[in-house]
Symmetry: C2
Subunit: 462 residues, 2 copies
């Protein structure tokens, strides 16, 4: 027999009162008065609680006075207009039954403020708090908004592999994947590899791009959205070992199309959060970062600045700011520079493009100046780099020359080069770090607090 | 300057002719006649090609006679009603330019039928064929349909981690994840682990369920949809080392709710393919499996059969079929049994439920008979098991007893057990193998042919 219930969200948004309703959820607070008790009930369907009033004569009322914060209950009663402020409806209980108790002596989420650091140690329970519940709902809304956006724009979602051969991707520290135990290390390399699952070295991907390009060069417009991995030992508030990355790739597109797509996508998603997640967003605007509404409205107010790298360097070298890292043509922009441009100089998002080729990846399209490539980074206030992308080098001769110049193993790229060998087309794409997007719209400053179960250097709990 | 183009799909679906249109794509065929040539142009936006007619006097016409299959071109011309059958419009080219040639001597996708086995060796190019392009578009439509379905049903998408501690999941062969080279094997275990990235053993997840449960026990209804991994050395047509799994998890739900959700989801997605992917689906119905339309219409015609495991055993033991594996209460159903039930006995989908507890996982809800658990598998014709799920044991004492009974390390489950310790609620969920769903709706019989870049035992190309 199925379990019948109305969600708290549906009850609060009900078009009319209802003579009988059944709700289930967790007790957020209990308040007792003479002859009756109040429960604030939350079931995760929305930030708001449903107030339940239990007269001492209601069925199960004897249980209620023992209910602790976090206990789960089922309530049947009448949904009536609430005389209290801040809520349209409340429930007058006919009966209450206990689903699961929560001992106040041991349940960690008693009604008080907990530090983010403490809540990370109970990542399995923190989604029951207002803040982490709201974060997860906003995260889900953003993910769904991404899928909707790309479907409407004619992009096919593709699933690029997580396990990858080690030869191609190059950038960043990678995790190795194996089915062998440590004892296999005693074997000669060739024999060890032949005994391993794939018969060769296997790694966790740092980007789906190289797989997405051949798919874009067949389907036209594709995107991947999946987990990616960095084995960097950096213990910062912005890096996780496992994170989700969105990577659209477009055939028949150049760097300007790429910038247009990134700007359109980011502004669309910010608008979506403001419009569709107003209640959850309000929590972050109120308790996490009061400047958040202004920051996001400002992001939407005007087009993003588009700034060639050389002009960015001019601004950074001629400004009065003392940077930790020096700036000159040929140097990669550091976080401090990116944030200066977005937060202080322009005070809004900036797309820096045409970076020096020597600091960018081999596959980026070479500009005619011989010095720069068609790369672009979207820098946003509070975050720094949100998006990194480029036009891809579609000319076989130039791409092969660049691979050789960098001493990369040409033969490992045979299939990647085939997309340039046969019917090559101009194409472009970018990567957007999904957690950074969540940080942007919530004001949360630590990546560990915008993921359900973060994986970072030396942290693999839950 | 951005690249302006109309997609082939938009051109073919244009509400009216158009005096000037610019399209780009790959040449599928070229046919020359006296004074002009025909190109069939495809850009991946849909299965259909756009016919382009190039008069010998058009700009760039001299290039056209040298265009091979697979070459990419840009065409500007007039979109006019087509006198030919099977297409509403064609383009009369004013100019044609070559984007990228494809040498007929070396381009592998000449116009002829290629075997699936051969196409697997060029997985980077096979999306340019009709069949694999159609498969990838259907795959994308199904993925988007999943996200839409769950959003409408009030489920939040959650991202559960791919890298997991080794202690909990148990089932199946797992891949190990490490940043150490083989030389670390010489170290004592404790020292080796302390030097590794996470300071402990790390594996690739086989299921997001254990992470999804605490999230459902906070947000109410959640789902994960991401890559999962099995390091099994089985070289079958149904198993891949990396595959995508959809796992919804519902608080305040029991086994019947779970069956209802699975049936509603599967039928919704089959309807979606028939309604929204008619052109691509038509290819599979015509060339891959002519029984496909009837199979899917039949799946939608009546509710799924719901059959207790004991009755399934009765049917299997009393039928005349000679099975390779014997059937009796307590034996797990093999693929041959599952397919007999769905394909021969009922000739439609069957949900088998209440399996013996000894063949099912520790977390499944124990029934009052002491012998069975609230497990369910959805078996469909042609595939066998498409969905496997259960009501979860929400009673702390019974769950702890079962973990102890099975000799599993109780302390590793501390956080999982907390969801039962504090405000426990009845909950249920299932896993649906996404590639099996793609196989169901396309009639493709090998899992390697419903993924862009399959990873299987000893195969890690691309």
């Amino acid at each position: 027999m199925s379990i019948r219930r109305t969600t708290v969200k549906a009850a609060l948004e009900s078009p009319s009162p209802c003579p009988e309703i059944r709700v289930m959820g967790w007790v957020r607070t209990r308040r007792d008065a003479k002859g009756f008790s109040f429960l604030e009930l939350n079931d995760g369907s929305c930030l708001g609680n449903l107030q339940v009033i239990i007269d001492d004569t209601a069925e199960g009322a004897d249980l209620v006075k023992a209910l602790g914060v976090g206990a789960s209950v089922a309530v049947t009663g009448e949904l009536v207009a609430s005389p209290g402020k801040g809520q349209r409806y409340e429930v007058r209980a006919a009966s209450v039954s206990l689903l699961g108790a929560a001992d106040p002596e041991t349940y960690p989420l008693q009604k008080k403020r907990h530090s983010d650091e403490f809540l990370r140690t109970i990542a399995h329970l923190r989604p029951r708090t207002n803040k982490y519940g709201a974060m997860l709902r906003i995260r889900a809304a953003l993910a769904h908004g991404i899928h909707d956006y790309f479907a409407k724009e004619g992009f096919a979602l593709v699933h690029t592999p997580v396990i990858t051969g080690s030869d191609c991707e190059g950038a960043g520290e990678m995790f190795r994947v194996t089915t062998l135990g440590p004892e296999a290390a005693a074997l000669p390399v060739a024999e060890r590899l032949s005994q391993d699952f794939f018969g060769k070295e296997a790694m966790l991907t740092v980007s789906g791009q190289l797989s997405a390009e051949p798919l874009a060069c067949a389907l036209g417009r594709v995107y991947t959205f999946g987990p990616t991995f960095r084995a960097e030992h950096s213990d910062t508030s912005r890096h996780a070992a496992e994170f989700w990355m969105l990577e659209p790739e477009m055939a028949f597109a150049d760097l300007e199309d790429n910038m247009n797509l990134a700007e359109s996508l980011v502004t669309h998603l910010v608008r979506l959060v403001l419009a569709e997640c107003a209640e959850d967003f309000g929590l972050f605007a109120k308790f996490v970062d009061p400047t958040l509404p202004a920051t996001l409205e400002n992001l939407l107010a005007e087009p993003f600045v588009r700034l060639p790298y050389v002009e960015a360097v001019d601004i950074l070298t001629s400004c009065k700011k003392a940077f930790q890292y020096p700036v000159a043509f040929g140097a990669d922009l550091q976080s401090e520079h990116e944030r200066y441009l977005a937060e202080e100089h322009f005070k809004r998002p900036v797309i820096v493009y045409d970076y020096p080729k020597d600091i960018k990846a081999f596959y980026m399209r070479q500009n005619d100046d011989g010095k720069t490539v068609g790369a672009m980074d979207v820098l946003v206030p509070g975050i720094g780099e949100l998006v990194g992308g480029s036009a891809r080098e579609e000319r076989l001769d130039r791409l092969e020359a660049r691979i050789a110049e960098l001493g990369l193993p040409l033969e490992a790229y045979w299939w990647y080069l085939d997309t340039r060998r046969f019917g090559t087309v101009p194409h472009a794409g970018f990567g957007l770090g999904f957690e950074r997007l969540v940080m942007l719209v919530t004001g949360v400053t630590n990546i560990r607090d915008v993921m359900a179960f973060p994986r970072t250097w030396r942290h693999l709990e839950f």
